[in-house]
């Protein structure tokens, strides 16, 4: 994986977000540094849903936050709706923020337990002085309705009175209050029960259509992103492994890591062949990543070339890019 390169970027007029060579570095113990995100490029066309998939520590959340400039990336470019965010002074960046909103993994802790739900959802509108009190209140009711909650029942209650799934609905209502163009969802259903997961995934699809959103959907679960995404990007140790439309990616994973991920999903079918652990070990430390392809230490197909040279993203079929010297 490792790969770098921009072969997968598109030259469409409707590109709303274009990220090039973005790197995020954190200081680590002993004067070392960790490149959590290491030279990643991606783009998003208006109305698309891009899924970013990988295991803990692959840099997927850091990448999502770096797009929002939280914190600003160490280097690289993030162009959103025609503006270069990395170069914007703080005050101007603040003016762009309503257009990019985020929802988080743990919906309960991401809501203020002291505020009523009406206040939670109204807060962004109040901060930006949108409308007068009556207009804001109408907008809150409309948002709560659209995420499937009864305004009369929930308005005056507080977040601790709700289940995880309902709190995630409230978070979505709040994120949509300022009518964003781009919504970054960081593991939005990982903390929820399976039966509720599907409700929230369907709600996100509905909201996307209703409000014309573009989505970035960060998840560790390949099965969850299958239904919702137009493009899937697989990450490992801060690099891109593979990027493709969902059907092609699952039917013909070209990267050995993607193949292992697909093979690791437990199937609810006792007659399916038991998925023998397809790869061994765990990801190495990002403080001291392997040379060349970062996946080579766990890869069944690794050769000397993989240690010497970092693979670049190349197109294996239309719209399907992989960074591997020996694609499957």
């Amino acid at each position: 994986m490792a790969g770098s390169g921009k072969a997968h970027l598109r030259s469409d007029n409707d590109v709303i977000l274009s990220v090039e060579d973005i790197t995020v570095e954190f200081k680590a113990a002993g004067g070392k540094s960790v490149k959590a995100v290491s030279g990643i490029s991606l783009d998003l066309i208006r109305g698309e849903t891009l899924a970013i998939v990988g295991e803990s520590g692959c840099g997927k959340s850091t990448l999502g936050k770096a797009i929002l400039q939280l914190p600003r990336p160490t280097s690289g470019s993030v162009k959103f709706d025609g503006r270069e965010l990395t170069a914007l002074p703080s005050e101007e960046l603040r003016n762009v923020r309503p257009a990019i909103q985020m929802i988080f993994q743990d919906p309960v802790s991401s809501l203020d337990p002291r505020l009523t739900i009406a206040k939670v959802v109204e807060e962004p509108l109040a901060i930006w002085n949108r409308g007068d009190a009556a207009e804001r209140s109408r907008k809150v009711d409309e948002l709560l309705n659209s995420v499937g909650l009864e305004p009369e029942i929930v308005r005056d209650r507080r977040s601790y009175e709700f289940s995880g799934g309902q709190c995630q609905r409230i978070s979505i209502a709040r994120a949509l209050a300022l009518e964003p163009l781009l919504l970054v969802c960081d593991e939005p259903v990982s903390a929820l029960d399976v039966s509720v997961q599907a409700q929230i995934l369907n709600l996100l699809q509905d909201m996307k259509e209703r409000y014309g959103l573009t989505l970035i959907f960060i998840s560790h679960d390949l099965a969850v992103v299958k239904a919702v995404s137009t493009r899937i990007m697989v990450m490992y140790l801060g690099k891109i492994c593979e990027i493709s439309g969902p059907d092609d990616l699952y039917a013909r994973p070209a990267h050995h890591y993607t193949h292992a991920l697909v093979g690791s999903v437990p199937l609810p079918d006792p007659n399916a062949p038991r998925n023998k652990a397809t790869i061994q070990g765990e990801p190495p430390s990002p403080v001291d990543p392997p040379s060349g392809c970062r996946f080579r230490t766990r890869c069944p197909a690794a050769t000397d070339k993989c240690a010497a040279e970092e693979p670049q993203l190349t197109e294996v079929s239309p719209g399907h890019y992989v960074a591997c010297h020996h694609p499957r």
């Binding site: 295991e55 399976v194 239904a227 969902p246 991920l261 697909v262 007659n271 998925n275």
Partner: protein, 325 residues
């Protein structure tokens, strides 16, 4: 088949400020010797409370427990706490969901594994350390000697879960409770740990109760599945038979709502509307009735009994899928 663990009419309730929370409402469960039994359910279904109560781990003024738990011929529910403890380690052992918090952060791995060996089996310090290294090798940890000297914070999640398993199997328990053992782990590591548990079970002749919310996990790693909803067993069958012939609408709905790799992309996901009932105020009828697509009047007025087809498949439904017995 003789049962290693036999639970009969177990009720567990907690006194809470909001009233009596009925977490487990009359559960019968048999774990035949040598088998792996899966307990499946969503948060709040009572699956964890059931497994803790079976081990006698729930005590205190605010806990009310009735029913019987018989393990290996001994009625645990009738024993004083000290004697129940005698079963821990050699009789039954447990591994938990979060390997990050289940290990003691200020003690070396070697001392944490050898603790049980010294207390339960009376091994000397040196012998216990030697056995600890063997156990680490058994759970496929490379360089077991080096691992003995490490602290938990030096290990990844998968390695910590392997250490937890080594501690649990140290005294050769007859029954291992695994409560969501892979939920906190990455998917590639999850596959490795589940495989390890299945191999160890075969090698050591251990029985297992695997508690999970994931039907995908039980499909390949259990012999019998028990599905719980709102503190009740709603369906129970040998694993293959359950997946081939689901009788309870809840099991079917749970199955359909699992995101699958082979579903078409871009479509809507099948879902279960609504949510679990309030455990402090159970409704009179079937607990799944408010969310059930096949609900009829009878479902709202009385709880269906758990009926068995005489062949190990039982379910709790007035209108079982594919017809009744």
């Amino acid at each position: 088949m003789t049962s290693l663990l036999s639970i009969h009419d177990l009720h567990v309730s907690f006194d809470t400020p909001r009233g009596l929370l009925q977490a487990v409402r009359g559960v019968d469960l048999e774990v035949p010797a040598g088998t792996s039994v899966g307990i499946v359910g969503e948060s709040g279904s009572g699956k964890t409370v059931l497994s803790r109560a079976a081990m006698g781990l729930l005590q205190g003024k605010n806990v009310q427990r009735t029913g019987t738990v018989v393990f290996d011929g001994k009625e645990l529910t009738a024993l004083p706490p000290d004697e129940v403890r005698n079963e821990f380690g050699t009789g039954m052992a447990m591994i938990f969901q979060d390997p990050m918090t289940a290990l003691n952060p200020v003690r070396r791995i070697g001392s944490q594994i050898s603790e049980g060996l010294r207390v339960r089996l009376g091994l000397s310090r040196a012998d216990a350390m030697k056995r600890s290294a063997e156990l680490l090798a058994l759970v496929r940890i490379p360089d077991p000697q080096g691992m003995l000297r490490k602290f938990p914070n030096q290990l990844s999640g998968g390695m910590r879960q392997r250490v937890m398993i080594a501690i649990a199997i140290a005294c050769n328990p007859k029954l291992l409770f695994a409560d969501e053992p892979t939920t906190a782990l990455d998917v590639t590591v999850q596959a490795q740990i589940l495989e390890l548990l299945s191999e160890l079970r075969a090698e050591l002749g251990m029985s297992m109760v695997l508690v999970t919310h994931d039907l995908g996990v039980v499909a390949n790693h259990t012999d019998i599945v028990t599905v719980m909803y709102a503190g009740l067993v709603v369906e129970q069958a040998p694993t293959r038979r359950l997946f081939a012939n689901m009788k309870m609408p809840y099991t079917e709905a749970l199955m359909k709502s699992i995101p699958r790799l082979d579903q078409p992309s871009g479509g809507r996901m099948p879902m279960i509307a609504g949510r679990l009932p309030d455990p402090t105020a159970p409704e009179p009828g079937c607990p799944f009735a408010p969310r059930c697509p096949y609900v009829v009047d009878k479902c709202r007025s009385s709880v269906p009994p758990l009926v068995s087809d005489g062949d190990g498949h039982s379910y709790r439904c007035w209108l079982p899928l594919g017809g009744g017995i």
